[in-house]
């Protein structure tokens, strides 16, 4: 059984709001973030964050400027996150705080722009930067410099399980004594690669996505940044803790889930085992729930086999869109809101649940105390990660 790691601060920015309060309000008022967009002739429903063009990166970090880092900056400047990290620096020292972040596409939008400009000139523009915008570690570099942290800095990129796995890595580093605290999270922003790519795989929905619905027809993309400060000691009596994590590989196919959901089951099983918690004690499951027909069916198999059919479950991707590498962290933080405020967010836009699926899919908000929540994140390459969050006993 692992030691609990407390989320002593957190913040998130997605299409439904900037910060924890705004997110909570949107979840209360049933305001989702999906809307029709059109990019270079491709029309989709997506969840975009407004106002990122106005976000400026401070001082000499301007060299990191790209949509992904503006999204990161918007979150760092919200929920007093920066001040909470500064207080942790005072407690532990800057070299004892690590950075464990995730992104799948980093500064891809700007790289796509650079290649477009190059198709006229034959070469990438002289002011195109690589190391500070496109390179995956640009995000962890930006955040560690922005927050003045000197501990280990790791950038995890395992597609849609990335930022859930960042929590697992951070917990391991703390347990191995390599750092005392960790800034954990994920940031992913919209780019043509993911929009045209998911569309080419015929995985995108015609309208707002409807996870686990009878008539579900695919996923919707979103963009988000989510950060948490992880420490071994709670700072506040109400602090929610990471109690367990479980990771696995499907060893089956690059973009199709295992038919018996073997990898997903293994991730959930390992997370519960590490948390030392019986499956029957889970009060809420935040599903991966992308709303593609095969993903939801495989996850339903995994959940019913590992946890059963009686535990309330919802997917919040109808609110935020699928934020890819940020999804694990965004949904872990939605779980902390549910735990703190005692509610289960509904699966937005899903009216008629697929009759062949057996999970207890929540389609109307439920008010009830929650002590333990489980969050699934599954990605391309058959990469799976499950987190267990809750109040530490």
């Amino acid at each position: 059984m692992m030691h609990p790691h407390f989320l002593t601060a957190s913040t998130l920015v997605s299409a439904i709001g900037r910060g924890r309060e705004a997110t909570l309000r949107a979840l209360h008022e049933e305001r989702g973030g999906l809307a029709p967009i059109e990019v270079d002739g491709l029309a989709l429903h997506a969840a975009t964050v407004d106002g990122l063009d106005e976000v400026a990166l401070p001082g000499e970090l301007a060299r990191f400027d790209c949509r992904n880092h503006r999204l990161a900056e918007a979150a760092l400047a919200t929920d007093a996150f920066e001040a909470r990290v500064a207080a942790a620096v005072a407690r532990h020292g800057r070299e004892r705080i690590g950075v464990f972040l995730a992104t799948s596409t980093s500064g891809m939008w700007e790289t796509e722009d650079a290649y477009r400009a190059a198709s006229a000139t034959g070469a990438l523009a002289a002011d195109f930067t690589w190391k500070t915008t496109h390179q995956l570690s640009a995000l962890s570099d930006f955040v560690r410099l922005r927050l003045g942290l000197g501990g280990p800095a790791v950038l995890i990129s395992t597609a849609c399980s990335s930022s859930a796995k960042a929590f697992a890595s951070a917990a391991r580093y703390i347990d191995a004594g390599l750092c005392d605290a960790a800034v954990v999270g994920g940031v992913d922003s919209l780019c043509r690669n993911t929009m045209f790519g998911f569309h080419s795989l015929e995985l995108t929905a015609a309208g707002p996505c409807r996870p686990f619905a009878q008539d579900r027809d695919g996923m919707c993309l979103g963009e988000a940044a989510a950060f948490a400060l992880l420490e071994s000691e709670a700072q506040d009596a109400g602090d929610i803790a990471l109690l367990g994590y479980g990771e696995s590989a499907d060893a089956h196919h690059m973009s199709t889930p295992h038919p018996e959901a073997a990898g997903a089951r293994l991730a959930m099983h390992r997370a519960l085992e590490r948390a030392g918690i019986g499956a029957e004690r889970i009060d809420y499951i935040n599903l991966h729930g992308t709303a593609t027909p095969s993903n939801d069916a495989a996850e339903d198999l995994a959940v019913t086999a590992e946890i059963g059919t009686a535990t309330p479950a919802s997917s919040t991707k109808g609110w935020t869109g699928h934020t890819l590498g940020a999804a694990g962290a965004v949904e872990a933080l939605i779980c902390t809101l549910a735990l703190e405020h005692g509610f289960i967010p509904p699966t937005l836009s899903t009216r008629q649940v697929d009759r062949t699926l057996r999970c207890d899919i929540v389609t109307e908000r439920r008010e009830r105390p929650i002590n333990l929540a489980l969050n699934n994140s599954f990605g391309f390459g058959g990469n799976n990660c499950t987190l267990v969050l809750g109040r530490s006993a």
Binding site: Y115, S119, T158, N193, F198, L201, E202, A249, A251
Partner: protein
């Protein structure tokens, strides 16, 4: 943190596999880079082998060499895949297609565009369902991957962990912004304890400690340019069977690797 190095793999120009690379890395012969040519991963089924990009073959070939030491095969062990930049040839093709009018995407190329593509293909090829982590650490991707792998042994209690570190040469368009001329991949099969292989101990070093360089000028140039080749001083000591303490920088800090005598 401590572990044992049980298996080693390498793929680079003039260093096609661990046994042929050993004399050169041990300092008994001069490195003759030459062209790497097309690398074909031994584990991949034919359909996957055709679809996989060069970076998948490069990394999986190094992985297969290191895994030859794992007997019997372990299908539950964790693996760590670290690369600063991943699949650049695939990235360039994606960007060129998206720059066309109208833009388009290939479904195959898209599903293979994630950073964990080699990890995914390797798990499919070997049937391994253990935790699989793909990460990036810029120029320090080797030490970032090594530390991640050692935490899986130390904190998660894994008996073994495969570490694969790779970065490919830049396609022409990216040469100016990312000057890496030669591809490099290495793999280490790490074991928590036991009497096999070479002991390795990792600890924090003073930030002022000087990073260990390669003695050979050619290998030193390779080490300095390709992030994955930062493993070379460790590989040279392993090849020579030499106990040595090495310094690897990581951002504004440094780690010390103490390599012991082989069992």
């Amino acid at each position: 943190m401590r572990c044992q190095i049980e298996g080693v793999g390498i793929v680079a120009p003039g260093l096609p596999d661990w046994s042929s690379a050993r004399p050169c890395l041990a300092g008994d012969s001069i490195w003759q880079p030459g062209a790497l040519g097309r690398v074909v991963a031994p584990d991949l089924p034919r359909t996957e082998a055709r679809r996989a990009t060069q970076v998948v073959h490069l990394s999986m070939t190094a992985a297969a060499q290191a895994m030859a030491a794992a007997e019997p095969p372990d299908t539950a062990m964790p693996s760590v895949w670290s690369s600063a930049d991943g699949d650049l040839i695939g990235l360039e093709r994606t960007c060129l297609a998206l720059a066309e009018d109208p833009p388009w995407a290939s479904p195959h190329r898209f599903q293979n565009s994630v950073h964990n593509t080699p990890a995914g293909y390797w798990s499919i090829a070997t049937g391994c369902r253990g935790p699989s982590t793909a990460l990036a650490g810029g120029g320090d991707s080797f030490v970032a991957g090594l530390v991640e792998a050692m935490t899986l042994l130390t904190a998660d209690g894994a008996e073994r962990c495969l570490l694969v570190v790779y970065d490919e040469a830049s396609p022409p368009t990216l040469e100016r912004v990312r000057p890496v001329a030669e591809s490099f991949a290495t793999a280490l099969l790490l074991r928590a304890d036991g009497n096999v292989g070479t002991p390795l101990e990792l600890r924090k070093a003073p930030a002022s400690a000087t990073p260990t360089a390669c003695e050979d000028a050619g290998l030193e140039r390779l080490r300095a340019t390709n992030p994955a080749a930062r493993a070379l001083p460790l590989l040279c000591a392993l090849a020579a069977g030499r106990a040595q303490t090495l310094v690897l920088p990581w951002n504004d800090t440094a780690y010390e690797l103490q390599l012991g005598e082989s069992a």
